[in-house]
Structure formats: structure tokens, C-alpha cells
């Protein structure tokens, strides 16, 4: 099962290393990890996507809590979270196919952010599913390069007290 963990940590040097090495050492695979400052500059939020069964997830959560710099670990419920990822696709784009690619970008509400002689760079945000669908379509043109931020997520406002 895939889980999206939202981990609030102290914004201090070395914390990312501690978290990443904990996953590696305890044999948990990270599918993606995104990290950045929160509304409080002394704190960072890590959004970590892991594939783990319930027991492994419980263990990794407990191990995370043992790190002194970790304040909060939430396993976000997929139905109760907002999640987004940003992807940049650099796609082969000979003159005669540009229109099609721009069309696809429009359908996904993506933006063309760079135009080269033989390529277009498309910026897309959305859920992993949407981005996967888009990647699938763009593959037909040849994706020269791809970069993604990894998923970030928050629990929905309706979940707040």
C-alpha cells in the first residue's frame, strides 16, 4: 500500500539526512520526498511517499517519532488530502507537431514555459494520476528530459478542528 506521510520537523541542518538515513537503514523504500519550510520558518514539512504494509508503516512512524527533531507524523488519508506535484517535461517538438503538444498541455491546464528549436518544455501540476496520464501522452513525442518535485500534500480543511 502507498502512503503519504506528512512529517513536521525542526528546520535545522542535518534533519533531512537523519530522516532519509532512517528509511534506508530500516529497509523502507521512499517513493518520493519533498521538503520545504512551513508557515513557521523554524519548521519544515516533509512529504514522504512510501510503499509499506500496515505493520511496516506503524514501525516507520514510531521510528520517525524517535528522532528528536521530528515533531509530528501524519499518515494522510487519500480521500481527505490535497496533494500536488509539479513536473517539467522537455518534449521533442518538431515544427509540425507543436500544435498537438500545446493542445495536450491545454487539456491538462499545463503551461509551455520554454520553447527551443526542436523542443517544448511543459510545466504541469496536479495529482500523481493526472501527471502520469499526461506523461503517457507526451511519451509519444519523445520526452527528452523530465524533472519532478515529488508530491506535497496537506490534510483537507474539513479535517481541522
Amino acid at each position: 500500500m502507498r502512503h503519504t506521510l506528512s512529517v513536521v520537523v525542526e528546520n535545522k541542518p542535518g534533519v533531512l539526512t537523519r530522516v532519509a538515513s532512517l528509511f534506508a537503514r530500516r529497509g523502507f523504500n521512499i517513493d518520493s520526498l519533498a521538503v520545504g519550510e512551513t508557515e513557521d520558518p523554524t519548521l519544515s514539512r516533509m512529504t514522504i511517499v512510501v510503499s509499506a504494509d500496515e505493520r511496516a508503516l506503524e514501525q516507520v512512524t514510531k521510528q520517525l517519532y524517535k528522532l528528536i527533531n521530528v515533531l509530528k507524523v501524519q499518515d494522510l488519508d487519500p480521500r481527505e488530502m490535497i496533494d500536488r506535484e509539479l513536473v517539467l517535461f522537455k518534449v521533442n517538438a518538431p515544427a509540425d507537431r507543436r500544435a498537438e503538444i500545446i493542445e495536450i498541455a491545454n487539456v491538462f491546464r499545463a503551461k509551455i514555459v520554454d520553447v527551443g528549436r526542436a523542443s517544448l518544455t511543459v510545466e504541469a501540476t496536479g495529482t500523481s494520476e493526472k501527471l502520469a496520464a499526461m506523461e503517457n501522452l507526451l511519451r509519444a513525442y519523445g520526452i527528452k528530459e523530465l524533472a519532478r518535485t515529488g508530491k506535497i500534500a496537506l490534510a483537507r480543511g474539513s479535517r481541522d478542528a
Partner: protein
């Protein structure tokens, strides 16, 4: 008040009540050693190796119940502490290790003697720090002691660049510590405690499975009270030794790979495994799928991550052992619960009588088990702390000594570190100058830190090293005999190289040798009576094996060797069993 960073560290140590620092100096840590030079109330013990310093601090902590402190230099000094830190981490021992580091402006440039010791020790410390602002030192020191000694104890490392030692700061010992991400749960959940008490009151074949956590929380008194109140048999792991008196009629031995057959039978047959401060280590459980399968499990631990890690649990209780046990006792008293383990104790007594540890005594050669027995008997009436090395010597010490008091046993459990015993004895002797301190050693292990004999002699620490000299890495040889077709690859050590008597004498310690059973008592007694450190080279039967033994990955009730006895299903007396079940 103005101080340098180094002086601030010393003031913090004084504020924490530290009396002994184990260490070894070098370039970048000199400002700290300079501040230690005339520090009131702190004795600095110069070991002969940083590993020795770390193990000594570790055992000092185990025996005294206080935080062990280590100070070493950067690079090789820091790297030499790694084994010691890993050892303390595995056995949950509170340490504060202060390492010097190259100056901040050259950090990250592979400067002379630069090693990323915080990076290296992330997996083996409870927490670590790299000081990047000397003003933080008082706070970091206070946090380090707090983290090391509370919750599940463990080592904390503080890496201090040399310019941080030298910087001038305003020293104030912080009155409060703010660690928002660190709040160990001490009090157990009331509902869970009630549930545990209810299970204890109903169980017909309960068993207390006790580990180091009970010692860490100083809960031996409460444990004894609980066991006696409900007449519960008690097994203690290698780490739990001393938490319950081993001469008590409820004491049911050490479980696991080289534990008692009767102990492993009791675990296999119990209907309520009441586990406190243990971690279901594989050396205890053997094959997990067949471990205590008839039992409901109550698991008490201050570290939530241990609960359910290896074995599913019926009643998890996160909390401090002492407070939880007290809660369970209170509840049982309220319920007016009565012991109902009479028949179960008779089953256990029967097993204990039929399957004791045993060996074939000899009149001509010294059996290693006999040596441990004689050490036990000759120290029966005097306060003694027993340390061990690792290997067969350690297992025989587990089997044949009788540890009766908390904090009188120091053995490397989770890491199984050869070379632990001698520095451990030194740390233990510093913690308890009035006790006789004995290291039960192997000829292999002792050579891993024998340089610490100098530390013992120079600091007048009269530790006694009893070497079970079998001329082998005996435990390795035993596995090769049993599982590798007797191919003794790299496991033979000439019994007379080094000559341990001369080695002892070279350091100014007393060196003695026993080669026949008739000589043994005299050598041991002379060593114990000697007012300085002593080494007894005991030439033991070379190819004796530690039995009984659970084959690696096997079920714990199916043991090799020892007194013949099949799996527990065949070992139950029909009549007694009926009574237990009725």
C-alpha cells in the same frame, strides 16, 4: 559570567554532577582537556584507547545508574569511539561523548584529522550535535544529558570544532530544556494496566520475561513485589540479569540460544508472557513463528517502537517499567487477586531439577564451567560486580554465575563486542570502589583491549581478569565444529602467545596461572585478595562447547546438547499438566 566554550562544557559537567570523564586527548580537543586539568570534582581517566574509554564509560553508567562521559579528539579519536557508541546504543546505555572537531572554517575540506563523526554516528546515537555557535553550548550540554538519561537511555554525541572550544561565551546553565520533539511517555495507560492485571490474575501459566529496561528504570524492587505477590516465575535476559535475584525460588533462568532448557520450555508453554523492558531479540526468540505461541503477550516498554516490532502483542503498554509495574501491583491488590501458579511452579521446578546446566567434571583438566562455578562460590559472600567478554566465556558466565543485585553485571548484549570486559571492569570499579570487580574473559577477547591493564594499574583500580584460556576463538570454533564440518578456519590462538602472566607483569599487575583443577582456587583467591589489578590465566579444556544450544533459526524448545529432553510437548508431566489446566 564569561567563559570559553571549553570551560562552559566543564561547568556543565559539574552542574550535571559528573565525577569521572574517560578520555584521550589530541590536537583539537586540547582546550577541553586544559579546562579539565584542574576542574573541581571531576576525575579524568586517561585510557589507552578511545574504545576503552567508551566501554569504561558505558559500564560506569550501567553500574552507577548515571551518565557515562567520554572526551576524545577528532578524526581517529572520534572514529575509535564508534564501536563503544554502537555497543551503548544497542544496550540502551546513557553516554555523552564529546569529540573535538577541526575548526569551523575548514570543516568539509578534508582537513587534517577531520572525520564526519556526526554523520557516522547518526545510526548509533540517540541524538547528536555539531556545535556551530559556541553560545549554544550550555543548552546543548543540558539537552544531551537529558536525552541520554531519560526515556529509553542511549548515547548522545557532541562534536565541537576547536574554535567553538576557544570562543568566549556568557555561561548560564539553562534552567529549562525545550525539546518539543522529545517527550517520553512515562505513565502507562490506565486501561491497559487494568487489562494486564486482569490477565495476570487469570493466567494459570504466567511468566515474567524481563530485560534491561527494568534495570534502566530501577524497578527491581517493584518487580520482586509483583512476582512474589502473584507467585510469578521470572526469566531475565542477558541484559536483564540482576533485575531479579537469581537465587530466588521464582527465578526461572535466562531464555534463548544458550539459555536454560527449563527456561525455554517455560516460555514455550506459558499462557501469559508478561514482557517488561525487553525487545524480543532473535537470540532470545529463536524462530519467531514458534516462540511462545500459546501465550497472550503483555509488552511494557518506554520505547513505543519496540512494541509489536518483532512479535504481535495483546496488551501494549508504553511507559516506564517501574511506574507500570507499580500500577499493576496496585490494581491486583485492589482486585484482591490471589496467586494461582502453584501447579505451574511445580512444573517449572520439575523441569529445573531435571534440566539444569551441566558439564562433565574432570580431575585432570580444568573445565571452563568449573572456573565460573568457583568464581561464583569464592565471591558468594562479598559484594562483586561481574563483567564479561564475548563468546563462550560470556555464555558460561550467564549460565553459572548467580547475579543477585541490580547493576552488578556488565556484559555486551546487543552488539556482542569482544574487548568490552576489561574496560568495563575499569568503569565499574570507578563506579563502585568498594566492590570486587571481575572480568570473566576469553583469550581472544582480552587481546582486543588488553592495553587497558595500564589504565587499571596506573589508576589503582584492582580489577581481576579471569581468562578462560582455551586457545581458541571458542565460540567461533564451536560453530565450526557444529555447522562447518570442524574446519577451524582462523579460529585457533596459541594458548601461550601472549604469555598472559608476563603480560600482566609487564604492566605491573599480578599475573597468575592455573593449569590443573587443584591450582585453581588458590590462584583465584590470591588474585581476589591482591590489592591491585590481577590476571589469572586459566588453561581450560580446549574444545568444550556451550550447551544447551538452540540452532540458529530453530525453535527454542528444541535444543542441542545438554541433558536429553525433547520439545516441550514431550516434556510435560501428564498429571501436573492436568492440574495446571483444570
Amino acid at each position: 559570567m564569561k567563559s570559553t566554550g571549553a570551560q562552559a562544557i566543564v561547568k556543565s559537567l559539574q552542574a550535571e554532577g559528573v565525577e569521572v570523564v574517560f578520555g584521550y586527548p589530541g590536537g583539537v580537543v586540547l582546550p577541553l582537556f586544559d579546562a579539565l586539568y584542574d576542574a573541581d570534582g571531576i576525575r579524568t581517566i586517561l585510557t589507552r584507547h578511545e574504545q576503552g574509554a567508551t566501554h569504561a564509560a558505558d559500564a560506569y553508567a550501567r553500574v552507577s545508574g548515571r551518565v557515562g562521559v567520554v572526551a576524545v579528539t577528532s578524526g581517529p579519536g572520534a572514529a575509535n569511539t564508534v564501536t563503544g557508541i554502537a555497543n551503548a546504543y544497542m544496550d540502551s546505555v546513557p553516554l555523552v561523548v564529546i569529540t573535538g572537531q577541526v575548526a569551523t572554517h575548514v570543516l568539509g575540506t578534508d582537513a587534517f584529522q577531520e572525520t564526519d563523526i556526526t554523520g557516522i554516528t547518526i545510526p548509533i546515537t540517540k541524538h547528536n550535535y555539531l556545535v556551530d555557535d559556541a553560545a549554544d553550548i550550555p543548552e546543548i550540554m543540558a539537552e544531551a544529558f537529558h536525552i541520554a538519561s531519560t526515556g529509553r537511555p542511549g548515547p548522545v554525541l557532541i562534536d565541537v570544532p576547536v574554535d567553538m572550544f576557544r570562543a568566549e561565551i556568557a555561561y548560564r546553565f539553562p534552567e529549562r530544556i525545550s525539546l518539543p520533539g522529545y517527550k517520553p511517555t512515562v505513565k502507562g495507560h490506565v486501561k491497559q494496566i487494568k487489562e494486564a492485571a486482569s490477565l495476570v490474575s487469570k493466567a494459570r501459566k504466567p511468566l515474567l520475561y524481563i530485560g534491561g529496561g527494568v534495570l534502566a528504570s530501577n524497578a527491581a524492587k517493584e518487580l520482586k513485589e509483583l512476582a512474589e505477590l502473584m507467585q510469578l516465575p521470572v526469566v531475565t535476559t542477558l541484559m536483564g540479569k540482576g533485575a531479579f535475584p537469581e537465587d530466588h525460588h521464582l527465578y526461572t533462568g535466562m531464555p534463548g540460544m544458550h539459555g536454560g532448557k527449563f527456561t525455554n520450555y517455560a516460555i514455550t508453554e506459558t499462557d501469559l508472557l508478561f514482557a517488561i523492558g525487553v525487545r524480543f531479540d532473535d537470540r532470545v526468540t529463536g524462530k519467531l513463528a514458534t516462540f511462545a505461541t500459546k501465550a497472550k503477550v503483555v509488552h511494557v516498554d518506554i520505547d513505543p517502537a519496540e512494541i509489536g516490532k518483532n512479535r504481535g502483542v495483546d496488551v501494549p503498554i508504553v511507559g516506564d517499567a517501574r511506574s507500570v509495574i507499580a500500577g499493576v501491583i496496585e490494581r491486583l491488590r485492589k482486585m484482591n487477586a490471589q496467586p494461582r501458579t502453584d501447579a505451574w511452579m511445580r512444573v517449572i521446578d520439575d523441569w529445573r531439577a531435571r534440566f539444569p546446566f551441566h558439564y562433565h567434571a574432570s580431575e585432570t583438566s580444568i573445565m571452563p564451567e568449573y572456573v565460573v562455578e568457583r568464581v561464583r562460590e569464592l565471591t558468594k559472600d562479598r559484594p562483586t560486580i561481574y563483567c564479561t567478554e564475548v563468546g563462550q566465556n560470556q555464555m558460561w558466565a550467564c549460565q553459572y554465575l548467580r547475579i543477585r543485585e541490580p547493576r552488578t553485571w556488565a556484559s555486551s548484549g546487543g552488539l556482542g563486542t569482544m574487548g568490552f570486559g576489561l574496560p568495563a571492569a575499569i568503569g565499574a570499579q570507578l563506579a563502585r570502589p568498594d566492590h570486587l570487580v571481575i572480568d570473566i574473559a576469553g583469550d581472544g577477547s582480552i587481546q582486543m583491549n588488553s592495553q587497558e591493564l595500564a589504565t587499571a594499574v596506573i589508576n589503582k583500580l584492582p580489577v581481576k581478569v579471569v581468562i578462560l584460556n582455551n586457545g581458541y576463538l571458542g565460540m567461533v570454533r564451536q560453530w565450526q565444529e557444529l555447522f562447518y564440518d570442524r574446519r577451524y578456519s582462523s579460529s585457533t590462538l596459541p594458548q601461550d602467545c601472549p604469555d598472559f602472566v608476563k603480560l600482566a607483569e609487564a604492566y605491573g599487575a599480578l599475573g597468575l596461572r592455573a593449569t590443573t583443577p587443584a591450582e585453581l582456587d588458590d590462584a583465584l583467591l590470591r588474585a581476589f585478595e591482591h590489592d591491585g589489578p590481577a590476571v589469572v590465566d586459566v588453561r581450560v579444556e580446549r574444545e568444550e562447547n556451550v550447551f544447551p544450544m538452540v540452532a540458529p533459526g530453530g525453535s527454542i524448545d528444541e535444543m542441542l546438547g545438554g541433558i536429553p529432553g525433547g520439545p516441550v510437548s514431550e516434556m510435560l508431566d501428564g498429571e501436573l499438566l492436568e492440574e495446571v489446566w483444570e
